[in-house]
């Protein structure tokens, strides 16, 4: 802290201002409290109840000792990581292309990227079904052109689910990455190039480090979103791809076991919180390294 003496009047003003801004957040906090916190508390209570309404930890024992839970957890993480990996591989070069395109071109391309975001996820998911099924357009093109003799199993499996999820998440990943890359000072790129850096070196040493924050935010969004995906695996998974969300639905509808379903919900929440904490910690670490590098 460099400021040592503060005018008491100014300090009071600052306090008043802070109180005012805090008050502005009250309506939002109220809604979040009502619409998010209360149901979560209710789910936590439900997870400790038997079907008869008595308190128990039996639901936790049942869910955590079941192999079905853990394989659903693994499927969930596999789907999220798979989506994330492809989003990074496809999204980062795309963002780079968008950021280096002329403004008019970039706007046009951006509109194409955003278009799927304005379509309902159900419509998009069924759209993929039409494209990918055995007698769908993709397979008709593949067999018609002689590339493959038999139609490929593109949907009702892990591949199909992944395609649907990537399609949904790519624009959401792209936005923060594009924003970060657009904000890079073009002079830095020129400076690097003027000192003899090749394109690859410019990307590696200038562009990627400076857009790491954006890639990071995009990755967080992708992971948090995909952890709870239900519609895509339900429609495109053909009953063979069963992440936690599907396990919850089945526990509710086939077993009418609200207690276990609540435990599964909490498991999902804990998973999300863990990932959130990991991302925050990594971000802080990155920020500290950056500060350290700047000082060095």
């Amino acid at each position: 802290m460099t400021v040592t003496a503060v005018d008491p009047g100014l300090a009071a003003d600052a306090r008043r201002e802070r109180r005012f801004f805090l008050a502005l957040s009250l309506p939002a906090l109220f809604i979040v409290g009502l619409a998010a916190m209360l149901p979560i508390l209710w789910i936590i209570r439900q997870s400790f109840l038997t079907t008869g309404g008595e308190y128990t930890v039996g639901n936790y024992e049942k869910v955590l000792s079941s192999g079905l839970t853990w394989s659903a957890l693994i499927t969930t993480v596999e789907l999220s990581l798979g989506t994330l990996a492809v989003c990074i591989l496809l999204g980062t070069p795309l963002a780079l292309a968008l950021a280096s395109a002329r403004p008019r071109m970039a706007n046009l391309l951006m509109a194409f990227v955003m278009l799927p975001l304005w379509t309902s996820i159900l419509v998009r998911t069924y759209g993929w079904l039409v494209l990918l099924r055995r007698e769908g357009l993709v397979n008709a093109a593949l067999t018609g052109s002689g590339l493959t003799a038999e139609p490929l199993p593109l949907v009702y499996n892990f591949t199909g689910t992944l395609i649907g999820m990537i399609h949904y998440m790519l624009p959401l990943f792209l936005l923060p990455v594009y924003a970060a890359m657009r904000d890079i000072d073009a002079n830095l790129v020129r400076a690097a190039a003027s000192m003899g850096a090749t394109l690859g070196q410019v990307i590696r040493t200038v562009v990627l480090p400076l857009s790491a924050g954006g890639i990071f935010s995009g990755s967080t969004i992708v992971f948090i979103y995909t952890i709870g995906f239900f519609i895509t695996p339900a429609v495109l998974g053909g009953g063979k791809v069963n992440p936690l969300s599907i396990r919850i639905e089945r526990t509710l509808s086939t077993f009418q076991d609200w207690g276990s379903a609540s435990v599964l919900g909490i498991l999902l929440l804990v998973l999300m919180a863990l990932i959130g904490v990991m991302f925050l910690a990594a971000r802080r670490l990155m920020a500290r390294n950056k500060v350290g590098a700047a000082h060095a």
Binding site: T51, G67, L68, S71, R133, R134, E135, P153, Y156, A234, G238, G239, K240, N242, R250, L252, S253, T254, F255, Q256, W258
Partner: protein
């Protein structure tokens, strides 16, 4: 004076058109074609006769909705449409009011199908259906042939639920229809059925989760052999023609109507159930969907045209090789069966 006259005339006209007090009843159905069929054939005419104002809600998962309403203490529906094994489960969890057999005719249901809590009104068969383009004149004729992937190659689609499937698995393994539940009640019976399902698993391309989805798979040619409900198979067959099905070896189940515990209009609900399941009305249901009545009286007096009888799972000529789904077995063993099924899916 003339103004007053006009006002009172209007008042009289309005009160004649809308009864001052109309008993209102809410019914929850599965919606879709099936829900519409129930409305047109059953509850709308019954409501008119009783002078009730009936509201409809739809739920694809009746039992889950029922449980939510009853446990939350916010029961909004007076009548709920369930599968009979769900009805038995709901009764075991005391989610239903006992049926009032002073209002509903106790003799309108065969003794074997009778329930104290959920009134069975129609029946359906879980059947084998196939793509006629794939198999032409030589489709599989038995469940054993359905399992014979060497002789009948092709992609299968089965429901992602143990219900009806474990019965079918045993039939495919050479168990006689009458022995299915006795075998299932032995310790190794369920395991035998699950093993059989595991054997066909590599040839199952889709495990479907809704009747509508199974119909779509048939229609699109996504799967060549589909286990589905006869009403769905019949609808696709009538629509496109590239599909056929057989009642041989079908598993027959019934759907029923129950009154949720704490329903706001209990007595009116009982009266509506009695009125909407009159023989003529459940017979009329077959005009819209191929689900046959449970009440034997509905098959008498030509209420159902002869050529349509063939499309009903319960028609005498279709009944010989089928298994009647046993709600009691499912209440006792349903959870274990579903768990074993899920674990098989996971392997």
């Amino acid at each position: 004076m003339s103004r007053l006259l006009r006002i009172s005339l209007t008042a009289i006209a309005v009160s004649a058109a809308v009864p001052v007090y109309a008993q209102s009843v809410t019914i929850t159905t599965a919606g879709g074609d099936y829900g519409n069929a129930m409305k047109e054939a059953m509850w709308a005419p019954a409501a008119k006769e009783l002078g009730y104002d009936v509201r409809e809600e739809t739920q694809s998962d009746g039992l889950a909705a029922l449980k939510m309403q009853v446990t939350a203490g916010a029961v909004t529906t007076d009548i709920i449409h369930l599968g009979s094994s769900e009805g038995a489960q709901a009764a075991a969890q005391s989610l239903l009011e006992p049926l009032d057999y002073k209002i509903i005719d106790p003799n309108s249901v065969p003794a074997g199908a009778k329930s104290d809590y959920c009134y069975p009104f129609d029946s359906y068969g879980t059947v084998m259906s196939w793509n006629t383009k794939t198999y032409g004149e030589n489709p599989p004729k038995t469940w054993a042939e359905f399992w014979d992937v060497a002789k009948f190659s092709g992609r299968r689609a089965l429901r992602a639920n143990a219900q009806d499937l474990i019965e079918i698995a045993l039939l495919s393994d050479g168990v006689a229809p009458a022995d299915v539940y006795p075998v299932l009640s032995t310790p190794e019976g369920l395991e035998r059925a699950i093993k059989r399902l595991e054997a066909i698993k590599p040839n199952v391309s889709v495990w479907w989760t809704s009747g509508a989805q199974s119909a779509q798979l048939l229609k699109d040619g996504e799967a060549d052999l589909v286990v589905t409900w006869n009403g769905r198979a019949q609808t696709v067959k009538a629509d496109s023609g590239a599909v056929d099905y057989t009642f041989k070896g079908s598993v027959i189940g019934t759907d029923c109507l129950g009154v949720p515990k704490g329903a706001p209009n209990k007595e009116a609900a009982m009266k509506l159930i009695a009125a909407m399941t009159q023989p003529a009305r459940v017979a009329k249901l077959t005009d819209f969907i191929a689900y046959g009545p449970v009440n034997p009286a509905a098959y008498e007096g030509g209420l159902i045209p002869k050529d349509r009888l063939k499309t009903l799972a319960t028609a005498p000529e279709n009944a010989g090789t089928s298994v009647f789904s046993n709600a009691d077995w499912w209440v006792k063993n349903g959870e274990a069966a579903q768990k074993a099924f899920d674990e098989m899916m996971n392997r």
